[in-house]
Symmetry: C2
Subunit: 350 residues, 2 copies
């Protein structure tokens, strides 16, 4: 008997990181079923069971102590967020989420009423986004809380958008604003430290509603998908921003075999985020590029759609697609050119 | 700030148990989408995206220390089992599993090579059952390993089998044999205690290959679905046996609003299981009724199919469906009648 079956060589998970690890573990997979259109490597898997529409399948996990801290996360918000982060993956394929199943591990320190609250939030998210909670599995866990949600969505065959469709000279667009969720996290972590040091201190969260809501109760951009549809704009590539702008644009460029230029001064950042960045001595672009959890949509469109996209609310043009030989570059506010690197939220790195 | 948002009353999870908890948390859910045919309450959710076939969606979680013990579970076997237990849910709807996504939480004590082994087993199961691994999410966890798998399957509209279709006088059938996986678990737990007490002792697992394989590397009954199809037998109700025969037949009877009679002497038990039951001083029927993890199929068929089912290999007739007023009864070997109760594997009970 051995604790773990190990071969002689031991490679630490931290040496690879999440994306390289997934590449390694899923290398050489070839579809066995006609209904499998696209497997690992996009926001959602794509299946075809009839001639008209495609079925999308996405899965995201949230682990206590890694993705959330119950010290400052109300369970109702957590349930809402657990749904939303999965719906966001389906919107990132230009689809609509339809059904959800949840796998939940909870320790006995949770009461039934605590789970009621979590489900209240999850059901609210489902109701808000028109998704049916159709099943799942609940078990005790020996330690923390573990949430795994799979969402099924639908998209018509000629409207599905992958990560790999970006073309030379395409415009790079992003919805909403970036970096706020990360600043919300830093704020909550700071106030937690203050509270732990002196439980009589009240947390100072005044005036920071926006960044807190972005962290604790994010929304998926269903509205942007609708606006793009109404404006007759179909992105050539799309991804949702869960790990930070830099990581996501690198995914699009790598899978499209292209390069890009992003302009720091074009990255949309809310005034509330800027104020907190100032307080925390963080360069706002860093929060936007590497903070993650914004759940905004990052997408590319043909240059010919410029006039149309200008009229769509809540969209910023932040750069353009270049040849792969030019790499992925950030043009800073002072005109310097810096290669973009993924330093996002990679749980498996040290 | 509070560790958990609790209302004044606190109900322990152990007071409810898994099934009552799920009933409570999913009470009053009504479908928002036309594509949602059946939500919570069967082996898989059922969706319809075209006119010909139905899409099935099932989710099962496996948690270290609750569902498996890495002291004696090789990771390759665990990967295989993690796939199989989900495929079993799809077969229990008379469908075929097609795509799989996995959510995985692992601590840093796992090496990349350890995950390679887990995926080797999972990919072997996928290959064996013709399922495509199409995506997932991997994250570090602070403590143990957590596996959540969702499987999409397909079944034609006129062939789907629910739990709620059992009719008066239907025959109750079960595939294969029961109780072996539970005896395998008891054996592994005993040898683990011996090993922990004296690490120089070699585990005594000789001659118990069958029960060990049933516990560590179970199979889903794809073959039974095929045999029933070839024999032109369509079950009226079906479920897979993950929690023990008693719990599963109670699910069928409750959802079909019927009662049942099960005969102890008809329950199929392998000679290897009987030998170990004798050694462990366990009544074999108890292992079969409450042990669980057999992943056999339990189903009901019309009495008129008796001659057909007699010719199908690997099927035992163990009882029949009665009026709900008669309850669910076990006729013991000595002719006593005992009400069946679910004492299966309920992780949330103390």
């Amino acid at each position: 008997m051995a604790i773990e079956n190990e071969k002689s060589k031991r490679t630490e998970l931290s040496e690879l990181g999440e994306f390289d690890l997934i590449d390694r573990l899923t290398e050489g997979l070839t579809p066995l079923n006609h209904s499998t259109i696209k497997g690992v490597g996009d926001d959602a898997a794509v299946m075809q069971y009839d001639n008209h529409s495609l079925i999308l399948l996405a899965n995201d996990i949230l682990i206590e102590g890694v993705h959330f801290d119950l010290t400052y996360t109300p369970l109702k918000h957590l349930g809402y967020k657990a749904g939303v982060v999965n719906f966001s993956d389906i919107y990132a394929m230009n689809g609509a989420p339809k059904q959800l199943v949840i796998g939940l591990g909870v320790s006995n320190r949770f009461s039934v009423e605590a789970l009621d609250e979590f489900y209240e939030g999850l059901r609210l998210a489902c109701h808000h986004y028109g998704v049916d909670l159709v099943g799942g599995d609940i078990s005790s866990s020996k330690t923390g809380m573990f949430i795994s949600i799979s969402v099924v969505g639908e998209v018509s065959k000629d409207e599905v958008v992958y990560r790999n469709g970006a073309q030379l000279d395409n415009l790079i667009c992003v919805s909403g604003d970036l970096g706020a969720a990360y600043m919300g996290l830093l704020l909550l972590e700071r106030e937690k430290r203050v509270y732990l040091a002196n439980p009589n201190m009240q947390p100072d969260l005044e005036g920071n509603d926006y960044v807190l809501e972005r962290q604790l109760k994010p929304e998926a951009r269903k509205d942007i998908i609708r606006l793009l549809h109404e404006a007759c704009i179909q992105p050539t590539a799309m991804i949702d921003i869960s790990d930070g702008l830099a990581s996501e644009i690198l995914h699009i460029c790598k899978q499209s075999n292209k390069g890009c230029v992003i302009y720091e001064d074009k990255i949309p950042i809310d005034p509330a985020t800027l104020l907190l960045c100032d307080e925390f001595k963080i360069i706002p672009a860093i929060a936007a590029l590497h903070g993650g959890e914004d759940y905004e949509l990052l997408f590319t469109i043909p240059l010919s759609e410029y006039e149309k996209i200008e009229k769509v609310e809540n969209i910023s043009l932040i750069g353009h697609i270049t040849d792969s030989s030019e790499g992925c570059q950030l043009i800073t506010n002072d005109g310097k050119q810096i290669p973009l690197q993924a330093q996002g939220w990679n749980h498996l790195r040290k």
